[in-house]
Symmetry: C2
């Protein structure tokens, strides 16, 4: 069998996750990791993984079936995706929800002109959660959607704390309130007046020598948008404890719909994730959808698509007969 | 907008659920209910619903876009589906898992020859659970799938008790063990040596006058396949209590995959349902997928397909732009 030839563009946590995920899928082959840094400065997880400079990416145009973009949504992807979509079939996890329509139509136009296929915003949210929002709403039109995040590490909020003067290091977890989760799961269809009732934020902070904990705690709790709208708890811990207990990147959450099919008949559908590693899971989603992207391109599809356009049979290594027998 | 014209073939609990579900979807129109009984003996839920004899179904061939089959899997569907697929685009919830491949290929051949499109085995299992089995396994190839059913009413097991001499009426619930569910949800990846560790069966039985409860309890508990492999609890209650407390048809369950993306990194994905009414929910799935069937047929697709072949965007009444903006 011809393997699907994959490239990794960008080598942070997500890129490493993709390298791992490819190793878990025998029908995939990693052609190379592309980095903006000096390739010789990079130690890939597997010795067999080749590292190239992003400057050389166009030389590999004919050797790669799918390029998996592993840069950040804020600045990397809007810059990299248009250029790469002009030369490769690309897949990314672009997650700036408000800008997705604009991003989609840009990549769609480029890909159509270049005769490539691009799958954008593929991860767990946007991605698997979007799939379930669409499915649930279609099946239960009279209902209410709920989305909860956590317990999980928020990279953005951790960064915001680290930028405070006097803070040496920090980790922030988003934690849903058990009672709110429970009231949703038991079909009470609650209305939450604000996010404060849905989740709270727990911070583990390492101080610089001589920093004032009272002042820093106040600064965190009053930070607009990031912490002010929430109940926030701040713990000061040692660098050692932070490294030991808070160096993973767990996350998760759920999409739930509670809807009525007739007057007194309530139906609840829920999709939930409990992840030890957010980047490794997102990477696994990207790799499964790379298989679908490769197959859909083979069928002649071009332009931009999302997870909502991909039948699940395209994700599986199983044949139609195996799917009918073992999965259905 | 032209509405999607739907027929209901068979008018039991599922057929009634479809009648309700169509009323919840403004882009759908019920053309008629087809029954083997005397149409004038049927009182539909809505006065506006027309009832016809199944004998007259072929006369409606050009008036119906999608025929939703609501008969039973054991005997009705294998007889009705081939005939109807020869004349209509059909959708059913055929759920005899072991026979799906054979059933699929029969309907596929008929539909291709007749230039119709048929979506088989569409409900929650097979159906939504199958989708998630496929998705989870594709994303987390190194892992273990778990499926739990209940708490919910099992029609087959209730019927089996009712067939015992001395039993006037009975209802049986399948109940998963909390500890087993918990060990799966917390990622312990347990191995269950038998179904006895996964779920138990709770029976509510109304006796005929003079029947011997001890004897009947023994007969239930020792019934091969149905009850012998499980721990079973039998309660004897009055007909009045049965009617009052056990006349709903709740069900539910979940598909969960626990998989590793690297050595010590475990990831858990779960899809769960908590249904007040099993038939009304299955009907809602059928109606959402009828929309997809109609659209896929318009694109020229013929033959048999399953839920695994349908992109979720086809289920939604939202436009591509709305999906990008509101759902993704």
């Amino acid at each position: 069998m011809d393997k699907i030839k994959v490239g990794i563009y960008g080598y942070g946590n997500l890129g490493k996750g993709v390298e791992l995920a490819i190793s878990n899928n025998p029908d995939m082959e990693l052609v190379g990791i592309f980095t903006r840094r000096n390739p010789s400065s990079i130690s890939p997880l597997f010795k067999t993984s080749k590292v190239f400079s992003t400057d050389d990416v166009l030389k590999m145009k004919d050797k790669i079936n799918v390029m998996i973009l592993c840069g950040g949504s804020a600045t990397d992807l809007p810059m990299q995706a248009p250029e790469l979509a002009n030369n490769f079939n690309i897949i990314d996890s672009y997650d700036t929800h408000a800008k997705i329509p604009e991003y989609f139509s840009k990549i769609d136009e480029i890909s159509k002109n270049a005769n490539t296929l691009s799958l954008i915003s593929c991860g767990w949210d946007p991605g698997l959660f979007s799939l379930n929002r669409c499915l649930f709403e279609s099946i239960l039109p009279n209902g209410e959607n709920y989305v909860f995040y956590g317990k999980g590490l928020s990279q953005g909020h951790s960064d915001a704390i680290r930028r405070i003067s006097g803070v040496k290091n920090a980790v922030q977890y988003t934690v849903p309130y058990d009672e709110s989760v429970e009231s949703v799961r038991t079909g009470k269809n609650p209305h939450f007046p604000s996010v404060r009732e849905v989740m709270w934020r727990e911070c583990f902070v390492v101080l610089e020598d001589g920093a004032n904990p009272k002042k820093i705690e106040k600064e965190i709790k009053e930070m607009p948008n990031y912490f002010e709208p929430y109940n926030t708890v701040v713990h000061f811990i040692s660098e050692k404890e932070l490294k030991e207990k808070h160096s993973g990147m767990p996350h998760g959450g759920f999409v739930l719909r509670s809807g009525k099919t007739s007057d007194s008949v309530n139906q609840i559908a829920e999709f939930s994730l409990k992840l030890d590693s957010n980047p490794e899971f997102t990477a696994s989603v990207l790799v499964a959808y790379s298989r679908a992207l490769y197959r859909l391109k083979k069928q002649g599809l071009t332009g931009a698509i999302t997870v909502l356009d991909v039948p699940f049979s395209f994700l599986s290594t199983k044949s139609r007969n195996e799917l009918l027998k073992e999965i259905l």
